[in-house]
């Protein structure tokens, strides 16, 4: 296989990862890294580096359409970006020190969580309004979002817990080169009680900043290989843009199940390769 064939195959695979990632809402990074290491034999660190770059591209590329819908909460996002940026710096620092096989195992565990997440059905909107929270009020985090009955106000809860979970989400992002959108949504949706749609759009908004915090360290440590990152970034970006377009009408339930099986298989292989020292 020469460079041209390698580039075209990686671009096609990345396109598929971006498409699936955006259709299922699970992001492209989590499937991209195992694909590059397991199928293309790329070093895990190069795979993580190119994945992080593609995460910035998809997050930023999609932001303008999310922002227009009026769901994302810019103050919640900015406040929590303190936590995710601290975590991302910590994660990138750890990435350069933890042995590669151990990172493969941690990645496998993150894949297991994503697989479980894709088998689970999405919880519907909780139709209760918690009382205003002291910290959230002081930080002006409360806002409203558009519904069919007009704008609906919500009160943000459990700010310290959400902040702590966001440090964890940032660390995973910096360590594994993924967006860790699932954990960000978990923090906002479950802990801070933001409406689901607000959580997912704000999470997407935050992913780019989180990834940018660790990208500088990745750059200097040589994790970002231009020959590899070029087809990965362009492929994922094109795939996720197409995915966002067909998402409006697509029936994603069965797709999520198929994707879950793929993730489960990859999780087992990543953990096996990590434990046996093949990565």
């Amino acid at each position: 296989m020469d460079v041209l064939q390698f580039t075209l195959l990686v671009a096609a695979g990345s396109f598929g990862a971006g498409l699936l990632g955006s259709l299922t809402g699970l992001g492209g990074g989590v499937v991209l890294v195992p694909m590059l290491t397991l199928a293309f034999g790329v070093d895990l660190r190069y795979a993580i580096g190119s994945s992080l770059v593609s995460v910035i591209a998809t997050s930023s590329g999609a932001a303008s359409s999310y922002v227009r819908e009026g769901y994302s909460n810019i103050r919640v996002g900015m406040f929590l970006e303190i936590a995710t940026s601290i975590g991302a710096l910590l994660g990138a620092f750890l990435a350069t020190r933890i042995p590669t096989p151990a990172i493969a195992v941690i990645f496998g565990l993150a894949l297991l969580y994503s697989a479980w997440d894709s088998f689970r059905s999405r919880a519907g909107e909780v139709d209760e309004t918690p009382a205003p929270n002291l910290i959230a009020t002081a930080l002006r985090l409360d806002s409203s979002y558009p519904t069919e009955q007009g704008p609906k106000t919500y009160h943000v809860q459990a700010v310290p817990l959400g902040f702590g979970m966001m440090i964890g989400a940032g660390t995973l992002s910096g360590l594994l080169g993924i967006g860790s959108g699932a954990m960000k949504v978990l923090a906002m949706d479950r802990a801070m009680r933001l409406p689901f749609k607000v959580s997912t759009t704000t999470s997407n908004f935050m992913i780019g900043v989180t990834a940018a915090a660790s990208a500088g360290i990745y750059f200097r440590k040589g994790y970002i290989d231009p020959g590899l990152s070029m087809p990965v970034m362009l492929g994922v970006l094109a795939g996720s843009m197409l995915g966002a377009r067909i998402l409006m009408r697509a029936q994603v339930r069965s797709l999520r199940l198929v994707f879950g099986v793929v993730l489960l298989t990859m999780a087992v292989e990543m953990i096996y390769n990590g434990v046996s020292g093949k990565l």
């Binding site: 460079v3 293309f40 770059v53 710096l89 002006r140 020959g227």
Partner: protein, 109 residues
């Protein structure tokens, strides 16, 4: 300047950054492929050093990726200006901290 307008400008800013970076990466990629199409790919072994200086497209690709990384940073910087104009001092402080962390990540060694 209200929140909604700020968010719309931010959305456009992000999209412009991504498009610009993708164009630069594509141009660099085309030059890279013209020179290296028939070599053997070598991504299996990690060398642990940045490949900025290599000629024939690689440097252009890295430049495009740098534009991409700087796009969210520009977004935070713009938010800082917007919060300052709104005289929202709590968020001027919050945004300054985020910008400081991003700058640290980009500059530290």
């Amino acid at each position: 300047m209200n929140d909604e307008k700020v968010e719309r400008i931010i959305g456009h800013l992000l999209r412009a950054g991504v498009i610009l970076s993708a164009l630069i990466v594509a141009v660099g990629g085309a030059i890279y492929l013209l020179h290296h199409a028939h070599e053997i790919p070598d991504h299996a072994v990690f060398r642990g050093e940045p490949k900025f200086s290599n000629a024939s497209g690689r440097g252009i690709i890295m430049g495009g990726l740098l534009v991409l990384i700087l796009t969210p940073v520009a977004r935070v910087a713009f938010s800082l200006i917007a919060f300052t104009l709104e005289r929202d001092w709590i968020y001027v402080a919050v945004t300054t901290v985020v910008l400081g962390l991003l700058t640290y990540g980009l500059m530290s060694s």
